[in-house]
């Protein structure tokens, strides 16, 4: 009996938190749409979030493309006695799945954690309250610039990841597996359509929303000193990663249903 109580209580708490996070999301969106946000801060955040994430995104996606080519070659060699369709497999996997998902997961760790800990520290040291008393709305000054930067930068970084992943696969195919460059190229261009690219990019926008909403919510509601900041940061990373991977399935199903990719 007690178990049901506990589960019920947890469930209630979870739905309450989801409600609060949704409310914050709507607040951010509303502030963004009315255009009353800090432009200077937005540019700064774009650089911080976007430009500084490029190296890690390029590194991870290059190696992902490379290992995909390798794995595909081994598998197809087992079945067909020769490595075929490597370009198609690498292209589709990267552009529709791994590019957006890996970029989002890396950014959840890099940027989500940074946002949550920065805002959380500002919350527990009363800096957020101080903003209010000095006539600045923290949503406008802190949340919306990060929101905009994420929504713009995550898809752009995803495109970078796509390109570099495919190039990584190209190098392995050509120099390690001895496949003619034109074959790899045709494997990609013959089968892939622009919808496939959009499929990945639309998902990446959703992932950006997940990361930035979770991080801002956890930051703004942070309590309990340094320990609380640590907790909020960890929760942000775990929750956004899980939500990215779970929502990826449903988004894919939905997009395919509407004929996008």
């Amino acid at each position: 009996m007690k178990i049901f109580w506990l589960i019920g209580e947890k469930f209630l708490k979870l739905s309450e938190e989801l409600g609060c996070a949704y409310k914050m999301f709507m607040q951010i969106l509303h502030t963004f749409l009315t255009g009353k946000y800090d432009k200077e801060n937005t540019t700064y955040q774009m650089v911080l979030i976007g430009v500084k994430s490029i190296p890690v995104i390029l590194l991870t996606s290059a190696f992902t493309g490379m290992v995909l080519a390798l794995q595909t070659a081994y598998s197809t060699r087992n079945i067909f006695n020769e490595p075929i369709y490597i370009g198609s497999v690498v292209g589709f996997s990267i552009v529709k799945e791994l590019g957006p998902v890996l970029t989002a997961v890396v950014l959840a760790g890099r940027v989500g954690a940074a946002i949550a800990s920065e805002l959380g520290t500002m919350k527990v040291t009363e800096q957020i309250d101080a903003l209010y008393t000095l006539g600045t709305n923290p949503i406008r000054y802190l949340a919306v610039p990060r929101f905009i930067s994420m929504v713009i930068m995550v898809p752009i970084l995803t495109i970078f990841a796509d390109i570099v992943g495919i190039i990584g696969g190209f190098f392995v195919s050509v120099y390690k597996l001895g496949i003619a460059p034109v074959v790899y190229q045709n494997d990609i261009l013959d089968y892939m359509r622009t919808e496939d690219l959009f499929h990945g990019l639309i998902k990446s926008v959703f992932f950006a929303l997940i990361i930035v909403t979770t991080a801002c919510y956890k930051g703004f509601t942070c309590e309990g000193g340094a320990e609380g900041v640590g907790r909020s940061t960890t929760q942000t990373v775990v929750i956004s990663m899980v939500m990215i991977l779970v929502s990826d399935y449903f988004l894919t199903a939905l997009l395919v249903m509407f004929g996008v990719g």
């Binding site: 500002m122 009363e126 800096q127 101080a130 008393t133 000095l134 006539g135 709305n137």
Partner: protein, 250 residues
């Protein structure tokens, strides 16, 4: 004039206020005393609109503020300067940008005038020439004073001090006390100080109120407080572990 009428407030099961009434007259320095965790910070955060009461009213110059929308509340907040317990300087900005923050938001001054104003505020608190330092380079007492400069920069009518002398050495604490009195005299503001430091309370205030168990249990002048017969106030002001106030010792 600020008037608080029958404020009730709870955080989940934690009942903080059970009907607080308080009147703050223009030009006075009122000190609200009370034990740690009794809700002193929560009370002044209610007055400036950072927290909303569950029930009750708060009047600032005869305007009820608990139900105002955000834009109207920002108008009222221009009358307030707030010194936070932890100073709450923005650590990504330098001292000048911190002090200028509220002024820039008002958008009524040129960049040159803002620089002059920042200089003036820093000299008022006795710290000149530190405009380009970052908060992380300042000592605890300096942080509090810079935060004070930030609070007075926009020329508020009411200044709130949340435990201005807590956590700094006794001499710096007295410097801060002198500053509060000095600002009071030169700027003719109304000061609302929250503290559990009785030396400071007696030195700076002309009106003291004690918060205990979610209510104001007594108010008066410092001399009235010194010879009070109220057992609760007496125990607190003399700092004794013997008396009706029981601290939870675990």
């Amino acid at each position: 004039m600020i008037k608080i009428v029958n404020i009730h407030k709870s955080f989940c099961e934690n009942v903080v206020f059970k009907g607080v009434d308080l009147e703050i007259k223009d030009g006075e320095t009122i000190t609200i005393i009370g034990g740690s965790g009794c809700g002193k910070s929560v009370l002044i955060k209610h007055i400036v609109g950072l927290l909303k009461p569950d029930s009750g009213e708060i009047y600032v110059d005869n305007e009820e503020i608990t139900k105002l929308d955000e834009d109207k509340l920002f108008e009222v907040q221009k009358k307030f300067g707030f010194l936070f317990q932890s100073a709450a300087l923005f650590d990504s900005l330098n001292v000048k940008e911190n002090v200028a923050f509220g002024l820039r938001n008002l958008k009524i001054m040129s960049e040159h005038d803002i620089s002059e104003k920042v200089k003036e505020c820093l000299s008022r608190i006795g710290l000149e020439g530190i405009e380009n330092m970052k908060p992380s380079e300042l000592s605890g007492g300096m942080k509090k004073r810079v935060a004070l400069a930030r609070a007075i920069a926009t020329g508020p009518k009411y200044i709130f001090y949340d435990e201005p002398t807590t956590g700094i050495d006794p001499i710096m604490a007295d410097v801060i006390n002198d500053l509060i009195i000095h600002l009071q005299k030169t700027l003719a503001v109304t000061s609302i100080v929250v503290t559990h430091d009785m030396t400071s309370a007696y030195k700076i205030s002309n009106h003291i109120a004690m918060l205990y168990d979610g209510k104001i249990i007594g108010e008066g002048t410092p001399s009235e407080f010194k010879k009070t017969e109220n057992m609760y106030i007496k125990q607190f002001t003399t700092g004794s572990s013997v008396g009706p106030i029981k601290m939870k010792v675990r």
